[in-house]
Amino acid sequence: MLARTRTLALHGVDAIPVDVEIDIHRGLPAFSLVGLPDAAVRESRERVRAAIVNCGFDFPLARITANLAPADLRKAGPGFDLAIAAAILCASEQIPERPLADWWLAGELALDGSIRGLPGVLAMTEEAARNGGCGIAIAAANAAEARLVEGVTVAALATLTDLATLARGELPPAPATSAHENGGPPFPDLADVRGQPGLRRGLEVAAAGGHGALVIGPPGAGKSLAARRLPSILPPLSRSEAIEVTKIASVAGRPALDGTLAQRPFRAPHHTISPAGLVGGGSPPRPGEITLAHRGVLFLDELGEFARSTLEALRQPLEDGRVTIARARDAVTFPARFQIFAAANPCPCGHGEDSRQCNCRPDQIRAYASRLSGALADRFDLSMLVEQPSADALGGDPGESSASVAERVLAARHRQEARLGPGRCNASMTESELAVHVHLGAEAGAVLANGHGSMGLSGRGWNRVLKVARTLADLRGLDAVGAAEIDSALIMRRRGST
């Protein structure tokens, strides 16, 4: 007796259809599982056996062979339990096969037959919707997340017995979920950054043009405080972007249990992080911090303390917006389109070379400066220098609120999208786009010609200055880039790099 059900396996942040085939025939009672299962999948046999028996079904005393196809794809995790159990019940004719064959089944079984939630249900539901069929049957806990996908029927199963309901052509009663979107606590507000106009301007420009930025200053000057407020002035995520972010979070083990879409991520990995932790790795490959920061902000505090190899690993993803983790058997591509924001002390002790408290030796300062200027030198468009805010500023009025800065940022982004296409921003302009879209006034052209030689900036350095100047003009609503914008961008540029 043969039966077949359909389920989904996670591969990177996407799902791939997997067929579960069960063959039951006479022989010594045995239960074997083939098709590159990992340990968790192999243990599925024990969970399936217990769940079937404890739900009042019979576990066939015969020779059972389960095959997970395609056989060359590595299967990991407990998510195949439900489909395997369903196929056994169908093959042993305890429930009819026909109605179940068109459902996508994904869930982990508990020994009492209840069904547990899985990570990555959003990705699975998207794939199910793409492939057609009756719909997807998943754990009740995952139902809210699955319903984020439009145009697919979601069956929420509490226990294995609900499969029988499904096989009769009825949907099990759905748990009540409140469908509210874009939830989560609000980001901290930019109004908390008091005084420090240079820092506030830098944040606004970074947000408006999507520029990578580095902020340098002594401990306690408000670098992290400012970084954590960057997401609050970025434009809101579109629905499709929010789905992408939610999907990644779910795959990484933070399922959207209450059915709310994720906010813009803000990730701040500690500087001791390994290259694999940052860009993704392991076997099977898991997403790293840069993928968790997709469509959001990756904040590297203490940039000078990160291992050089760790920072070098960021180079390619920053360019491509994705990262491919290659393994001997397999290669997985994770999305990684994030905005980089970093903070550093001006010298190893943090006080700054010009401060009397600085007790760094000259060679330490030199080594630190070269580390800082070498670290991802060509991936930051902006740098800002902050100092301890004065007591007056700290006790003074709150700064402009995030909401009003975000308005200007959004207007500037609209201008960029009109020029470059949807979802694009100035930081991503290519050299040819720079030539087309950065109209220099006569005076600005002269500035450029005069500065190019005298300041010893490389061609690449100038391109970054032009991008920032373009953003400054966008913030002011100007079509042409003027001399003032070029000069301001020169001062805001990253120093000591090419």
């Binding site: 240079g198 340098i216 070379e353 030199r366 200027s373 220098l385 902050v386 500035v447 300041m455 000069d487």
Partner: protein, 375 residues
């Protein structure tokens, strides 16, 4: 030509006794090294290793001249002694502590030109700020441009900036080292060492392969002080090693000049004290020339493009100590956007320079005076 055996022996002995001398000065090299070096060979040996002075002395003297000569040639170095005409006569001013021979590398042909009336020593803090480095570089560049030889010690900070400035002008520069002449100390200055060696001169009183000890640096300072007609201290905190050089310059009857700095800056506290004690005020290369040669010789005037009043206010703010956009806003009372674009204009014009963290510093470039005003 190379140094005769008698003259060379002194350097070889210092090299052999280096470790003993280090122990004898007990960490107070600045005060004691000079007195020790004034002693004759036997007294010195007795002073630093009373127990077996004879044996040590004998061992030092047993080195054969041709072996030393071989070692010199292998390192690409040479020696010169007081019996030769090209030996810098100025060193005689050091009296009993004068070196009898010098070990050198680089262009030996520059030796005859080392007269006190055309040589300037520029020294200062190794931990110099942007101000000190900029002033040292500009002084050296303009002085070297008028044919003055710039002497310094190849250390980090002011010394390096002085060598770089002289080299930038295509002028002559001499690095006097505390170590043997074949070694770049500190190692991070390797490239500068090679450049000085290629187009200038490297001198030391110690032979190649001498191990490095602390006392050698104050000892070297007396050579720098004696070589030049004037020693200019650019930026030095109190208790800086360059103040020792200044003191030694006075001892051998040379002039001392100092570049003033803000009275609030710990970096300039040493130079400001020198000025208070009567050192010549050095504001620019012209002041150095006036002190060295008397009035007459002029440094070619250099100044940048004219700047408009708005930028002038920003430049004033930077000169008054504002190093960031925020600080300029606070000091000049203008809006941030205007401050940033003015800073950009000033940097392009060469009046300002930003360091790796983005702090803005004033360069030595002068602003042209508006027509009709007088100095």
């Amino acid at each position: 030509m190379s140094a005769c055996a008698d003259c060379m022996a002194r350097g070889l002995q210092l090299s052999a006794l280096a470790g003993h001398i280090d122990r004898a000065v007990e960490g107070r090299a600045g005060e004691r090294a000079r007195d020790l070096l004034a002693l004759g060979d036997e007294e010195l040996a007795r002073a630093v290793c009373p127990r077996d002075s004879r044996a040590v002395l004998r061992a030092a003297r047993s080195q054969r001249r041709d072996e030393v000569q071989d070692a010199l040639e292998r390192a690409g170095c040479w020696s010169v002694c007081a019996h030769e005409a090209t030996f810098p006569a100025e060193l005689a001013a050091l009296g009993p502590s004068r070196p009898r021979a010098l070990f050198g590398a680089g262009r030996r042909s520059l030796l005859p030109g080392l007269g006190a009336n055309r040589t300037v020593t520029i020294v200062g803090s190794r931990r110099a700020g942007a101000y000190g480095r900029e002033v040292a570089r500009e002084l050296a560049r303009l002085l070297a441009g008028t044919g003055i030889v710039v002497v310094s010690g190849l250390a980090l900070g002011v010394d390096s900036a002085a060598h770089e400035g002289a080299l930038a002008a295509g002028g002559e520069t001499v690095a006097v080292l505390g170590t043997g002449p074949e070694r770049s100390y500190p190692r991070s200055r390797r490239r500068l060492y090679e450049t000085v060696r290629a187009s200038g001169l490297v001198l030391s009183e110690l032979p190649p392969a001498t191990p490095t000890f602390r006392w050698m640096f104050p000892a070297r300072n007396r050579l720098m002080a004696a070589l030049a007609g004037i020693t200019v201290v650019v930026e030095a905190a109190e208790r800086s090693g360059s103040l020792i050089t200044a003191e030694m310059a006075i001892d051998v009857g040379r002039q001392v000049g100092a570049v003033p700095g803000p009275v609030t800056s710990w970096r300039s506290s040493g130079t400001n004290k020198l000025l208070a004690d009567g050192a010549a005020v050095i504001r620019d290369a012209q002041d150095v020339l006036d002190a060295l040669l008397g009035p007459g010789v002029k440094v070619a005037a250099e100044h940048g493009p004219p700047i408009e009043p708005g930028a002038r206010a920003v430049l004033d703010a930077v000169e008054a100590g504002a190093a960031t956009g925020d600080a300029v806003v606070a000091r000049a009372g203008i809006e941030l956007g205007a401050a940033l674009s003015a800073l950009g204009r000033l940097e392009r014009a060469g009046y300002l320079q930003g360091d790796v963290t983005g702090r803005m510093h004033r360069t030595a470039l002068r602003v042209p005076r508006p027509r009709g005003s007088r100095r």
